[in-house]
Symmetry: C2
Subunit: 167 residues, 2 copies
DNA sequence: TTGGAAAGTCAACAACGCTGACATAAACTT
DNA sequence: AAGTTTATGTCAGCGTTGTTGACTTTCCAA
């Protein structure tokens, strides 16, 4: 709340309201920059950010179900369905009936889906790569540490659970 | 592109595509968490994220003009106007004719505008504070460094230009 | 066989981006 | 003084992406 110094980390002066406000603002500007490059590509094709997110998470977990995707993305099925319907119609995503449970649909990227996902994520990675290089390895470790600490427990599990090795 | 090791920072293995993908994903999840708390308050009041942004930047630069706000937020005047109109009608923002240039409007937060902005930003700061404390001062420095490196030059100037002291 | 979960669809709505067109006042230029 | 530019505001309309609610179909499991 206020900067009463004297005790441990509190005295390191990076928890003042003003410092925290700057942190928020940095998040705002950085996130805008972070989405800007893929947004340009998406616009050419008449897609939006939601399409990118779907492509990203289907690539990350091939064969994932709609329900699983819903819980990761945190949107309603109606909202996701609109996006998926279009991606399937456009031949970027394939939806196949589940093996064990035939109510489920397993989602995969098609070749052209993979190609678009690669194009989008490469645009995004290019910016990340430049930023990481500029900031250096220690800064990157700190960056990741703060981002993870910022997530809710549930999100953190989804984030860390998506792959094997950590960061 | 690929992890051909051997030269300088490249060999530190934090620039592989997979590492960069994880960075992107961390940004996605963290940003969702970052906006979640104020979003809940805004929803109660029938406002959206755009209202929060306007309140934030008017508080940051009291007396700012509409044009200045437009260039910071990076939206069209029609879009901003819709938000400002509501905030002014609701008595959260005051708009006064400029002194030097009477075409301009100087924007300020009213008392209730200040109160809401405080409530929103405090909710956001609370999460930042917790994350910062968990991650520690070095991580915070790295976090800020990467976020700044991620911005476009123009954004970085707006970010750093808004106040006196840096980070 | 029946209950309920999973998936999909339709309708309607809201927030918030966008474009284009137009109005007004003030300031600047010629 | 007349014309142009700038700052702002507003109207109309559109698209993406979120929401709720209602409903159907499919199909697993008790």
């Amino acid at each position: 709340m206020n900067d009463r110094n004297g005790s441990g980390e509190e005295s390191l002066l990076f928890l003042t309201d003003e410092q925290l406000r700057m942190g928020s603002e940095a998040m705002f500007f950085a996130y805008r920059a972070f989405t800007a490059d893929p947004d340009r590509i998406l616009e050419e094709l008449g897609y939006g950010r939601a399409h990118h997110r779907a492509l990203h998470f289907i690539r990350r977990s091939p064969g994932t179900t709609v329900n699983n995707l819903l819980s990761i993305l945190g949107v309603t099925k109606q909202s996701l369905n609109r996006v998926l319907r279009r991606l399937i119609a456009d031949g970027l995503v394939s939806s196949s009936v589940g093996h064990r449970d035939r109510r489920e649909r397993n989602l995969h990227l098609t070749e052209s889906g993979l190609a678009l996902e690669r194009r989008l994520s490469e645009a995004q990675r290019k910016r990340m790569r430049t930023a990481y290089r500029q900031a250096g390895p220690e800064a990157v470790a700190g960056f990741r540490k703060v981002l993870e600490a910022m997530m809710d427990e549930q999100m953190r599990r989804q984030f860390l659970g998506g792959r094997e090795g950590g960061g």
